[in-house]
Point group: D2
Chain length 344, copies 4
């Protein structure tokens, strides 16, 4: 589905959530865990050094990982086995000691999402800047307001730009808040009570968080509300851009022509068409992410101390939502650059 992703996807965000990025983040987790565990006295400094050495230059056997994924439902057992095979036998137990797959996967996700948030913030800021510039350049132009699909009363483009821009301010604030509330370390051990770290769990978690530049939190294997709330934010971003897309598609209708799109899409059958492709796709992305948001909420019903069913559902949904929010911002930025007013 590569071709479609040229239209509806986002290469930059997708790369941050790729297999390669996830594996790298999980290896980073294992290294930081070993270092933290050594500092906290759970494993020896030599063992930690062996983990660091094993991770250096590690190239995963991806076929083996995929096989492990199919069998175990998670990558981690295979990944740990591959890493351990690069270690002296006496230190192998120190890798991943006390941890569970979910510690590695959830913490890795946070490392990945930190970068996704960077991208989203940059793009939200860029869209805002462009809206500011449009307001400065064209805000005083008259615009017929439309309510309930009917011409209502005259207003100005400044009002339109304001309505597109104000939610983005809130999203930037929400992303900043998500850095604190979402981007936290996961460390619970097999059943989420840190019992496997024999009294050193809290100390290790604190050190781990420092090393990975993540917040500290009690284990959250089964309390997925920050993940789902982040998905809700991604859907809001796509939603507001979808509203902008819908407005532009309506304003560029042949009969309305309040604004024009430079370089809209062509048709295989009608040479005169100048289709508002990006505007329409913004609506598609909004509806797609809206739907996924509902599905992600279904993953809140997380049975007992770990639900394979609910957790796998998150994996199927959240990355798509991030890519879609990224695509919304990418297309929104492009589309604003294509708007032409009056005789421009």
């Amino acid at each position: 589905m590569n071709m479609l992703s040229a239209l509806t996807g986002d290469d930059e965000v997708a790369a941050l959530l790729s297999d390669a990025a996830q594996i790298a983040a999980m290896v980073r987790f294992e290294v930081a865990l070993a270092e933290a565990s050594a500092e906290a006295g759970l494993i020896t400094a030599e063992a930690a050094a062996a983990v660091v050495a094993a991770a250096a230059g590690f190239e995963p056997d991806r076929a083996d990982l995929a096989e492990g994924m199919q069998r175990d439902g998670v990558l981690v057992p295979s990944l740990v086995k591959q890493l351990r095979a690069r270690m002296p036998e006496e230190h192998r137990g120190a890798l991943h000691q006390g941890a569970t797959s979910q510690d590695a996967i959830d913490t890795a996700l946070m490392l990945q999402l930190a970068k996704v948030i960077d991208v989203l913030e940059q793009r939200l800021t860029a869209v805002q800047s462009r809206l500011d510039a449009l307001r400065d350049g064209h805000g005083i132009r008259p615009l017929m307001a439309h309510t309930r699909m009917q011409a209502a009363l005259p207003t100005t483009w400044a009002e339109k730009f304001r309505s597109w821009s104000e939610p983005l301010v809130r999203y930037l604030a929400s992303l900043a808040a998500a850095r604190r509330s979402l981007l936290v370390v996961q460390l619970g051990g097999p059943v989420g009570d840190r019992g496997s770290f024999v009294g050193r769990g809290d100390a290790i978690a604190r050190l781990l968080a420092q090393k990975l530049d993540l917040g500290l939190a009690s284990p959250w294997h089964t309390t997925r509300d920050p993940i789902v709330a982040f998905g809700a934010l991604l859907a809001l971003i796509s939603g507001s851009l979808g509203k902008m897309g819908a407005d532009i598609a309506l304003q560029t209708q042949s009969e309305v022509a309040a604004v024009h799109i430079a370089g809209g899409g062509g048709s295989s059958a009608m040479a005169h068409k100048n289709n508002p492709v990006a505007a329409e796709v913004l609506v598609s992305l909004a509806r797609f992410n809206a739907g996924l948001s509902g599905t992600l909420n279904q993953a809140m019903v997380h049975e007992n101390e770990r639900s394979g069913a609910a957790w796998t559902l998150e994996w199927m949904v959240l990355p798509q939502m991030a890519v879609t929010a990224g695509a919304s911002l990418r297309l929104g930025l492009q589309l604003l650059g294509q708007l032409r007013f009056g005789s421009e």
Copy 2:
């Protein structure tokens, strides 16, 4: 569908979102608007007094309102007409002057949601207290942890209570934040630019907010993200309670019996059954609100300066979500009170 609402509904929250409550809140808006408009010099003090007098003891003609709803898609034109009929002719224009239906309806909703938030906060606090008490009374009891639907390792009930409780702390914080970010006055006039208030719009909005104890905001007719974000929070509340329900349904299975429910549901065919009805319904409510959350997000694509399609969709979804979140907390509180451990 009264019977079903005995199981899945919530009378208290439903009453706060009833027709009667909405009409009362809209009348309160019109009165406060008239007073604010008089203070700001848009209308005379006499006219404002006439609005106050018309509102006092007002009993709406509900058949006429329903007819207006069908015709106009909103209650307000009929409501304004009914109120104006109670006023001396010379002051009638002062009622609702400069305002649009959406100003009345959205502001009224905020007044109603303020009370809904009160109820949710009280119940979240009550559920938390009960979880604290359970932790104090039973937290040290051993519990077999289950991951991926299999017995894993022993832990304690304290961990279970913690996992049920921690998200609720976050929801209380989110509700407190929603009081500031969501509960704001709506005042924009016909096309959302306050032009109809001829230069006094900002002053009127400020006074209106004070009188109604709401926050101040620029017009948000078309930027519905705070509404949709509130819906997302409602779904999270139901989701976490649904997780608790799923855990309890699993732990009370005949073969597991880690805890018992005093006074579970009976069966028409099997006298020995003690069904975890409330636990199961918590799961239903979670899934229902999850789905509605996705649908509410579809209302983000709000065309131009007012979308009847998107706005009506909000009305169909948001009240149900609030009632469902209320029901989740109501049932969760009941269920926690029914839990019996060991030989209790």
Copy 3:
């Protein structure tokens, strides 16, 4: 939420799915079951006569039913108790003998849905007739076709009417098919294997189906695909009417004015507005039913021999979907009658 239902609801379909209708259908089930059981030799003719007598003129104690609903998660235990209280003690066991709550509730639902299908068929046929009349009266009128929100090439209104009409033909066929595939008797006993009818279950089911004019089927307590497929059909109906609504809202835009709506909605602020309220609400209904359709599908994951969680979710969703489909057709029919072409 009465006022809103004046706009988005449907009194006729809602009545068919009301508490009163459900209780009446469940009583009808119990009577037919008793008669079938007597004919099959499971209970005596005297006992069956006692059931018939108890049902005659039965007025349920609704407060007691609501209490039972809360406690048991189903109405049936309370209902059976109320009916048995009207019977001589020696025959009480014959009422509901061998059956389970789900037999009564699911079969009652089928009796109710049979009438819902009647209404939907009548309305689909009425919408089609009106479309045929429009095609005959106005089909040759020219219409500018719009693709991707841009004027494309001229076509005729006949094409528009065709595109609105053709799906309805398919829905009528699907409803006719649903009469056979969906409207079947439910009889399984406590765990769905008819074991409680001690060898007479198949015979009783056959007789029961005859008496209730329903199809025969093996027990389907846990196989809910016909229910969910019916929901999908309801969403398609609302979807096609939503497409029609979107088209009309676009065609009646002030700048396009390809058609007019006689008696559209008024505004509280702009006397010149003629809002396409019904057209917009058709879009709302389509999006609402689309979302509910996804939620109903979540109820397919029905645990073991009866899932209170999944089944309750169906109850929360399916009736709303039927009412919404009914409202779509009601509004669609109204809206088509309001269309005015040219100088009409």
Copy 4:
């Protein structure tokens, strides 16, 4: 997201819906259209031969197609340009003559879905065969039935197998019906009225359908109910397999142990675990497809004669649904093969 697709994806179905498969199907459409157009007298036999020659051995320039996709929102203009570049100038106009992008894309989708249906039928039949064999081998084994998450009464495994199997019979019938109702040719021209084929449209459509082994239909650019109904069927398939997965996850719980899974998943932390990974993932897939089904329904609101927004949404959703249904059947088949009863 390759690794995840090892768990939740389906290589075979994904290949049928890949870019390569889509391009091949679109080329096949263009060839058949040219041949049909020649037979119907719209273009010359020489021109048709030139189209056939251009298609033979055609290797698309995929970078150019991706660029076209981004610009035009559809692949077809670029594809047509590439094919025309391989033709003598005088015949270039004959390629795609009278057609629109949607004719090519929708018809290509039908050619692709025909093969997807083949795969789904094969797998449904295979799952059924395995269920028949299980019933023959283990049906008489006793099983404790569970209703509302509680042990109810004894039944047999035969009942369980029956409940898993019966819906599949219906899905096979629905797939057979979909071959007739869904797999039809799309030919409408730019605005869906076949006007561009200057009187020969119906004849060309008939010939085209014959050549491509598809059904005949009037243009359905904007009436997407057969597509959405097919999506609903895909969700039902995943739903029923999800029910089976939920049952198996419950039955293989450590405390219930009514059946065992040979070769379940391992844990990175607990060597004794035998996780029902496939069973859990079946639940994930069901919930994922349920959610997507709701989103696909949103695409029913298809504005005017072609909605870029609604159509693009279909592309984002339907292929994922088909892959997910394929994965459900793949995993279900695998899981049934892993079940071990008693001392097996």
